[in-house]
């Protein structure tokens, strides 16, 4: 929704995250346990952001972390959980049930149609589905109409323009061109619909090298780029690393044990105390852990082993 033409978009993690202000609507890239911009989100928490409205499709630890840190007031996503892995998202569940966070649950195609409306510069897009479900009750901003072409009922969903899209990409250059590898989830929709885009990348490349990779996000949509290797940890970022199941299990146990334990055992240890991303990585297991998460490349057995539950880790 804007054009950013500076030649050098490189920023510190702190400066990039500071583009997000209290009360803004944010769209978080990736999904479930894949390519979520965790380093940027941890920085948002460190900076004490409040009252964020988060929108998207199916997410996990990213949104649950923001819920557990008290950074969010509205969740408008299609799913927040840990799938068959650990099940429900403890912090998300707790803040919804206490009423501290408004659950504006949505559905994947609905939110894509809303982002597309923003992308196409029109006030709404029509949707045939959703009718007959209680999502209409939850979203008084949707309208219904009788289609002038078919005479059948339709739902009109309004354009959704996030203030900031927060993206983690595999590759980028200083100017802000990005190469995001699939599953892209909703990242390209977020990027095209949002007013600001901040991106962390695993690897910053010279533009000529990035060109060979056929980037899929042009620089003029991106406002800041931060190189943060392992910036999606504990979610996965192939072809670099698989997700850190042991870390997620530790996260889940802390969150499950209630807000105080979560604050002490997770937020303090992994978000507030580490002064730098390097310090975070070192607390999260250091080079040995990083090496282990890269071992998915060593063959199916090594890869499979990364999904093994650590002894006693799952409640």
């Amino acid at each position: 929704m804007s054009i950013f033409t500076s030649e050098d978009k490189r920023m510190s993690l702190a400066d990039a995250a500071a583009i997000v202000q209290d009360g803004m609507t944010i769209a978080v890239g990736g999904g479930l346990s894949w390519r979520e911009p965790m380093a940027l989100l941890r920085e948002l928490v460190r900076q004490g952001r409040r009252d964020l409205h988060v929108v998207g499709t199916a997410h996990g630890v990213d949104v649950d972390l923001l819920c557990g840190a008290g950074a969010i007031s509205i969740v408008e996503e299609s799913y927040i959980g840990f799938e068959q892995d650990f099940g429900m998202a403890p912090n998300f569940r707790r803040v919804c049930e206490s009423g501290r966070v408004q659950m504006h649950d949505t559905c994947c195609h609905t939110i894509i149609q809303q982002l597309r409306a923003a992308e196409y510069g029109v006030p709404f897009l029509p949707v045939r589905s959703v009718q007959g479900t209680d999502f209409l009750r939850l979203h008084p901003e949707y309208k219904t109409m009788t289609c002038p072409f078919t005479g059948l009922p339709l739902v009109l969903v309004p354009a959704l323009v996030p203030d900031v899209a927060i993206i983690h990409a595999q590759y980028g250059d200083a100017q802000g061109n990005l190469k995001i590898l699939p599953p892209l989830v909703a990242d390209l929709f977020f990027i095209r619909a949002s007013k600001h885009v901040i991106a962390s990348v695993e690897k910053l490349l010279p533009t000529d090298e990035l060109r060979e990779m056929e980037p899929n996000v042009p620089y003029f949509w991106v406002e800041s780029v931060v190189e943060i290797p392992f910036g999606a940890h504990p979610t996965s970022c192939y072809p670099f690393y698989a997700y850190d199941r042991a870390h997620l299990a530790e996260y889940y146990q802390a969150a499950q044990a209630g807000p105080d334990v979560f604050s002490r055992d997770y937020l303090a240890r992994y978000v507030f105390e580490p002064a730098t991303h390097e310090e975070y990585l070192s607390r999260a297991g250091g080079p040995a852990k990083r090496h282990a998460l890269e071992s998915w490349k060593d063959g199916d057995d090594a890869w499979k082993a990364l999904f093994t539950a650590p002894e006693g880790a799952i409640a």
Partner: protein, 231 residues
């Protein structure tokens, strides 16, 4: 211990077989994330009676993948291995919305007699008693997909902490996350202008159900040998 293997061993193979039976050859079929039973049923169907089924893998949207194992999280590269290509999230939902998705699988923590499902919240939606993870794409897909198989491994009602038995099949559904045959206000899916045909099969750990073609109400079709109607 491998999660894929745990999954495979602990889920009743008979359920996977029953879910696979609902798939027709030559149709495009999709399962969502967190759905090991449909995932395995689709792999089975394609190897058995539906070799021309188009398998779209949940979350990676890989086409006809040959995953080396089933990881417990669904946006994982292992799940698109062997695919010639993957489509995008929007392609997947657009395919359904234009009527080209043959079958999809949905589950629910509450299931009412018309096949409406709740995976959003128990209690009041403003401050729910239990906030469930959410419907993912189920709300849209329930309106759009040609045929839907409902599956659940939790039909047998457990008792909660206060000793009350919690039924998955409910008379009153707290939140309709995905639409079955008749809405809360008694409107049929046809009158709502929906494209898909709605759920036709319900496979649980106890038996197989379908819907009466006239009343659209759930009815028992078959019990597995080791279960009773009392369950």
């Amino acid at each position: 211990m491998n999660a894929g293997h745990i999954t495979y061993a602990t889920l009743p193979e008979v359920m996977i077989y029953q879910v696979a039976r609902t798939i027709q050859d030559g149709e495009l079929v999709f399962h969502g994330y967190g759905s090991p039973v449909p995932a395995l049923a689709m792999l089975l169907a394609r190897r058995a009676h539906a070799p021309h089924m188009v398998h779209i893998e949940g979350a990676t949207y890989g086409i006809n993948p040959e995953p080396p194992f089933l990881p417990p999280t669904s946006n994982d590269w292992s799940l698109s291995r062997g695919s010639v290509m993957a489509i995008g999230i929007s392609d997947l939902f657009d395919i359904a919305a234009r009527g080209d998705m043959g079958r999809m699988f949905l589950s629910g923590v509450q299931i009412d007699r018309y096949g409406n499902l709740n995976v959003t919240a128990i209690g009041d939606a403003d401050t729910p008693r239990v906030k469930l993870p959410g419907s993912g794409g189920g709300c849209n897909l329930s309106g759009d997909v040609q045929h839907i198989t409902i599956w659940t491994t939790g039909q047998r009602a457990p008792t909660n902490k206060t000793g009350k038995r919690q039924f998955r099949f409910v008379k009153h559904i707290d939140f309709i996350s995905s639409i079955g045959h008749v809405s809360r206000d008694g409107v049929s899916r046809q009158a709502l202008g929906l494209r898909g045909g709605g759920p036709d099969w319900v496979v649980t750990e106890l038996g197989v159900f379908d819907f009466d073609p006239v009343t659209h109400v759930l009815r028992l079709r078959a019990l597995y040998p080791d279960t009773t109607v009392q369950d």
